[in-house]
């Protein structure tokens, strides 16, 4: 043991990833922040400072190619998450133009979905609810299935695929051989599933997002059949594995801060800034990655061209140089330009949908659950380090009231 010495960036990153620290990686991020830009033993760079992350998210020298040795897909067959301009911009334009109009004006519908999910537990006496399984997961999954026109009965199949593939986003050295093999298998299964869906939709298109993407006027010809499949996979996984954590992490913050929960109950509009604070305080996507297209001078050091870069979004969100009292959950925090959705050209496409889902879900929880309390604190967490969140979030309550005010 070398407890007396300062842990290296490599150590701190390993600790932040270790499953035993999943419930609370924040003390490790706080130590990272003492060196906002640090080189790790494998030559990659760990960026934890807010300003430094922000710069690299906007820097023309940053590539979205993570230089992941595990990713054997040819460049053109990678999702827009990993694409650089100009191809990234062309792809994103297509996806944005098809996706955004379909989610505008959706709040009323989201309110109905949330109401329906909670109604299943309405009663006159005490009970329990797993906020993950009963609300946070099915809400975004239903929405993404409806948007894409994916049959709801297929959900268990690709739900499990999404889960297995998400684990694949984590750093390779945290995964076992078995997991990696399993990952390849899941990839193959997902490809088969998506190919089937695409074939079906090509012969009988609808007004869903998948049909929209398939038949979008595409002068740049970026949405070829392979890219269509990749984009579809990205949207499905993003729809399954991110908002669930936003809602669950938000619920957790509410239950740990009863005064905030009480405020939200009397002032449902508090949900608006509160969700931003969840995105800062406990973001569903903890980190992102880049690589250096040229030498990058930053924070008094130089990240050499060709280096892999890890952007610790969740650490930057706790940077005291940017946020006053960074470890406090302040539901109406001002000037909250958090990194929860990243930034720059890769800013989360689904941000507006995720926000609406979380605002409506959290307001409904505050409104309808009487005397809610956490059954286990901390709750059990999922393996995933990057898309991090509770596996279950069991909440006991005195009563789950029928809805009096629609959420939207």
């Amino acid at each position: 043991m070398t407890t007396a010495t300062t842990p290296s960036a490599t150590d701190l990153f390993a600790r932040a990833l270790r499953y035993e620290n999943r419930a609370d990686p924040y003390p490790h991020y706080a130590r990272m922040l003492r060196h906002p830009v640090a080189r790790m033993d494998d030559g990659s760079w760990l960026i934890s400072g807010y300003q430094e992350i922000r710069q690299l998210l906007h820097d023309p020298r940053s590539s979205a190619d993570r230089l992941d040795p595990q990713n054997k897909a040819p460049k053109a067959a990678r999702s827009l998450l990993l694409q650089d301009p100009p191809r990234h911009d062309q792809l994103r334009r297509v996806v944005t133009q098809e996706f955004i109009p379909r989610i505008m004006g959706m709040r009323d519908h989201l309110g109905e979905l949330v109401a329906r999910l909670l109604d299943a537990h309405t009663g006159t006496g005490p009970g329990q609810l797993d906020v993950v399984a009963d609300l946070a997961y099915p809400l975004p999954v239903t929405v993404i299935c409806e948007l894409l026109g994916v049959p709801r009965e297929d959900e268990p199949l690709f739900g499990s695929l999404a889960r297995r593939l998400t684990r694949g986003l984590d750093p390779v050295d945290t995964q076992t051989e078995e997991e990696l093999r399993e990952l390849d298998e899941a990839r193959g299964e997902l490809i088969n599933y998506l190919e089937g869906l695409i074939t079906q939709r090509r012969t009988s298109p609808g007004d869903d997002l998948l049909s929209g993407l398939m038949f979008h006027p595409d002068p740049d010809q970026v949405m070829d059949p392979i890219q269509l499949r990749v984009t579809l996979g990205l949207l499905l996984i993003a729809g399954h594995e991110t908002t669930v954590n936003l809602i669950a992490n938000g619920t957790l913050a509410l239950l740990r801060n009863p005064d905030v929960l009480a405020r939200l109950r009397t002032d449902p509009d508090l949900a608006t800034p509160l969700v931003e604070e969840v995105l800062r305080y406990d973001p569903p996507v903890q980190m992102s990655g880049r690589s250096a297209l040229a030498d990058i001078d930053i924070a008094g050091t130089t990240i050499p061209k060709g280096s892999r870069i890890r952007l610790m979004l969740a650490a930057g969100n706790r940077d005291a140089n940017r946020f006053a009292d960074p470890d406090l959950f302040v539901p109406d925090r001002r000037d909250n330009a958090h990194l929860g959705f990243g930034g720059g050209i890769h800013y989360c496409i689904g941000a507006t949908l995720a926000r609406a889902e979380a605002q409506i879900a959290l307001a409904a929880i505050a409104r309808r659950l009487q005397s809610p309390r956490l059954v286990t604190d901390p709750p059990p967490y999922r393996e995933n380090a990057i898309l991090r969140g509770p596996e279950h979030l069991v909440v006991a309550f005195e009563r789950l009231a029928p809805d009096s005010a629609p959420a939207a």
Partner: protein, 452 residues
Amino acid sequence: MTASAAAGLRTGRIVVVGASLAGLRAAEALRDEGFTGELTLIGAEPHAPYDRPPLSKGVLSGRLNCDHIVLPRVRNIDARWLLGTPATGLDVPGRRVELADGRGVAYDRLLIATGTRARPWPVQTGGRLDGVHVLRTREDAERLRGALVAGPSRVLVIGAGFTGGEVTSSCRELGLAVTVTQRSATPLASALGGVIGRAAADWYREAGVDLRPHTTVRTLEGHPSGRLRRAVLSDGTTVDAEVAVVATGALANTEWLAGSGLAADHRGVVSDAGCRALTADGRPVEDVFVAGDVARWPHPRYPGQLMRLDHWDNAVAQAHTAAHNITHGPGEQLVHRPLPAFWSQQFGRYLKSIGVPALADQVVVTQGSLDRRQFVATYGLHGRLVGAVAVDSPRVLDGYAALVEAGAPFPPVLGATDGPAHLDPVDAAFPGRAAGSTPDHALSAPAPTAHR
């Protein structure tokens, strides 16, 4: 400093002359800084503070009306407002501002934020003709909007800087025929140089504008009725137009400071780097401060010259610096050293700039290309990056800001995936300078079009 001296800085009487963006934000910042004394705002215009950028865009196009562009007041300031009462004189030793209505307002500390006005067309060459417009105030915009809605057969825009480009763009949206004269080879030349200017000239032409480079207006001629009839240009040709918009720059509103002993002229009021006004012989005046478009100050980043920025964010930032320094003692003074930034919206494009492109001797496109809709161009002086301009690329500019801030080498080594494989900088082609020469007074020369 003693506690009582510190408390003294937060009490007493503060007068802010100028009730537009800088004046309003300074007043709010003074309260944020804990100032509890008497606060007075004096404004020449009769309106609550409003935002000027939309005047040349949404207001002219008719998508926004002038009653709507009042600036939000971010907090209560418990101030006395004297609107529609221009300041006409300043007695520095007597600490007193004279008003047009004959009243005087005494102060303990003063902030000058009187801004600029549009440079008018000379009376001798047609400046009084009916149909000749400038654009700076709500009234200007309403008058010009009225003239455009009447459906003139042609509009003449004099000057193709930012304001000229925005006005031209709005006129084209209204379907009006437009002729634009421009002293330099291209639009935007004095701010961004001729290379980016050539791209801008294409925007004009694509929009169907009759652009006349290397051309000035010799005289504006009227009908006997006093209405504008036509313009005689420097090349001897004439342009028939019922409306002319003069967009040839701005003059600082400093006439009221004549005889005050302050270093003030049509270019602005000179201050030190902490926003304290200087006397004509260069001594700082302890209780007089300057902020916004009217201020000229030695920016530490750009030694050897005085900088004046008629930029929206500088008005806000300098208001905050001044408010801080007004309310703090000698040990806690801030230096005003922002990275200059501005934007323009014209011909459906969003142009953003950081640093000072006008300082540069060379320019190179680093992302996209000039003939495409989106591009980023970087500007260098003596091998250092001094500015960047992004057209329809707003999400990458922050990265360049960090490079300019750091004084990165020029041309920058970026490896951008949407940039040319090899960067080949060319002369930035600023008008009136020999190729490759260094600008003498790029910052202190009055910009041909003031942009806000």
